[in-house]
């Protein structure tokens, strides 16, 4: 009998995995756009579980179910700098059963960097459900840099000497390039890797600057091992340390907020897109949702509706395209 028990548990494990991984793959067409969603919606997230993109997608999904009564099933597909996920959704049926949840890094920077041969025009962008406002520019203690003004001065005195940690061809690389242009300085951009690699190498004094999420460095800012120089937001995000200035306040005309994007395959019924906008607007008003975002990533809720979102993303794409040669 015990043998059966083992098999039962083994098969249960396999089944559990199978169900969770395979949910939403049955692609029978959804009903008309008006009633959408009539069944669970499969959401492909361009990042692995545990990061900021995954957190935003899952928090949104929780409240989506509360509003619509239908669950969102999250699949994390992090591969190929997010291109595996974007390709998957682009090529799937436009019946509202599969959604892409990503940010401008995958939707725009990947195209600018030449990683994908399609663009945001190959999707039906629904809306911007949330905007990341937690990124800060950080300097290592060993660099001796204390403020943005100090950075500009030191960089002008020794062009190309101060090092900046990035992932080449990625969002953080672009952040560095724009900073250099807007501040009129020359930095040495290095490939360092993920956020944790950046922190490790800054603590070890091997690299001077990096753009990192505030939550990951706030302890080090307190101990003095890392120095937070500025935030990338248009206006100060009061959920961070209120003393962190914006770049604009430091005299550099540089704003780079990171919108998350919900997108459908091209050709999706407009009624579905209207419906998710309606839902997203409702979610953004929910005080519990707002509190969850602040607790997790010091992020105030912000929802940008369809038309305005398209306009913003088109503008962003045009701005980023100016750096195409440098990024590739």
């Amino acid at each position: 009998m015990k043998k059966r028990q083992l098999f039962a548990s083994v098969m249960a494990g396999a089944l559990l995995l199978g169900t969770l991984a395979g949910c939403g793959n049955n692609s029978s067409a959804d009903g008309g756009g008006e009633e959408w969603p009539t069944k669970a919606v499969n959401v492909v997230v361009t990042a692995s579980a545990g990061g900021d993109t995954d957190f935003n997608a899952r928090t949104f999904a929780t409240y989506f179910e509360q509003v619509t009564g239908q669950p969102m099933v999250i699949t994390n597909t992090a591969g190929g700098g997010g291109s595996v996920a974007t390709s998957e959704v682009k090529d799937s049926k436009a019946d509202g059963s599969k959604i892409l949840f990503c940010h401008t890094g995958q939707m725009i920077v990947n195209e600018v960097a030449g990683l994908i041969d399609y663009s945001m025009d190959d999707f039906d962008i629904a809306c911007i459900p949330a905007v990341d406002k937690g990124t800060v520019l950080v300097a290592s203690k060993a660099s001796g840099i204390t403020s943005v003004e100090d950075l500009v001065e030191k960089a002008k005195a020794a062009p190309g000497e101060i090092t900046y940690a990035s992932e080449l061809g990625g969002y953080s690389h672009l952040q560095g390039l724009i900073l250099m242009e807007k501040a009129g300085i020359d930095l040495k951009i290095l490939d360092i890797g993920s956020a944790s690699d950046k922190i490790t190498n800054m603590l070890g004094g091997r690299v001077d600057l990096a753009a990192i999420s505030y939550g990951a460095v706030k302890d080090y800012a307190e101990t003095g091992d890392l120095i937070i120089l500025a935030q990338y937001n248009e206006e100060r995000n009061e959920n961070l340390d209120p003393d962190i200035p914006t770049f604009v306040e430091c005299g550099i005309d540089f704003v780079m907020e990171k919108p998350y994007i919900i997108a459908f395959p091209k050709g999706t019924d407009q009624a579905i897109i209207d419906k998710i906008n309606e839902v997203a607007a409702q979610i953004a008003e929910d005080p519990d949702y707002q509190a969850a975002l602040i607790e997790g990533y010091n992020q105030p809720a912000e929802y940008i509706a369809h038309d305005e979102a398209l306009e913003l993303l088109a503008q962003t794409r045009e701005d980023y395209m100016a750096y195409q040669d440098l990024l590739q």
Partner: protein, 507 residues
Amino acid sequence: MLELFAQGFANVFSPFCLVLMVLGTVIGIIFGAVPGLSSVMAIALFLPLTYGMDPGQGLSVLVALYIGSVSGGLVSAILLKIPGTPASIATCFDGHPMLARGEGAKALGAGVFYSFLGTIISVVALMFIAPQIAKVAINFGPHEYFAISIFSLMLIATLSSGSMVKGIFSGVLGLAFATVGIAPLDAVKRFTFGTVALSDGFDVLTVMIGLFAVSEVIKIAEVAKREKASDVAQVNMKVKGFGFTVKEFIQQIPNAIRAALVGLGIGILPGIGAGTSNLVAYTVNKNADKKHSDEYGKGYIGGIISSETANNASVGGAMIPLMTLGIPGDGVTALLLGAFMVHGIAPGPLLFQNYGPLVYTIFVACLVATVLMLVIEWYGMHIFAKVLKVPRHILLPIVFVLCVVGAFGLSSRVFDVWAVLIFGVIGYFFTIFKVPQAPFVIGFVLGSMAETNFRRGMMMSDDNFLDFFTKPIAAAFLIFTLVYFLYVVVKEIKKAQARKTASGQAV
């Protein structure tokens, strides 16, 4: 500190938390034992469920899953000769020969006990000396990582007794497969043939499942049908304690200590973990344990002890940089970092200071999960062994299905299923020509690490290669590599000469 411990105990010993941890340990062991399911999958599946719990409970469950799954791999490694996870690859080497000799119970007992010991040693290190040893991780930049990955590659390529050439061949082939996909740094697409699926390269789990599990299924498929009922291996589970004697325990203390140190050290370094440490510890002990060096790979208990102590010691090791620096050491700890972050807690230098009760709850959870693992596996051993009573022509197709399910579960792609089958065929030819599979896996894992860090290092040093030899840690590892290589070459030549003279005398 005692007060904090008491608080931690109170948190963990709440009925809700304890039930969840028992469940977590059992599920972890199953995910570890089933080829195709892994620690990362177990935790990725359960992470979202912990979002709604309080941080202490959520992390306790995840820790239980982690510890259970790293240990669980030993079951299939010993019974089926298929490592359940990459952390138990070296356990196969001696585990299966012991089973074939009728010492399966002893092999399982030793594996379970030393998993327990390895975890405890590393958790104690985590509790008492974490801040001091975590600083080691900061000193490792791209140059140092390149050097240590080359060192580990060399160590494991020479592992195959008899033919070093075959070991190096296997390792180099692994390196070659690691180059498929988007290249590090400049994002050039290599060997993708214009497909999106290949742009992400192969997943390490598809490589491992294919080479070890699918190849074993193919191999047995050749003979299984002709097999009589009497051929089915039987395990006599009537053993005292864990199956090994006090004398053996004392004799094995040096092996266990070396393995624990290797496991802990490799665990602390971000980027490499239990999947590498079990093989490195095995190689280190095989070389250091001079008296028994020849018995490794033929069913020697020391081999199991090396592998299982080291892989579980890497668990606590990986938690050290996570909890003291906020730096995750592997895929699993990256997920644990996410579990902290959703509650607005960023692990870092002030975690102990700001979240003392939570930290001690996690410590207690580690200890409790370790004991749970010991108890559950000890009682489970008898159930596990019954698996062998299932005729192999029924058992292995089930294993095969699980492998395919696991591969698909990685990212819901049929591509990964094909990859598993292809690596299975490669693995089958490896076994026919007696080429070891382990160097392939390690070459695959460390290959991309070596490449990425080499290029990052060159970038950091303005393309000055000499920096790899002027930075002390990097230089030391590279020199070790060279010395060790020469040592093995000289040893092999001597062996060959001895064989020649021996055969000459025989004539």
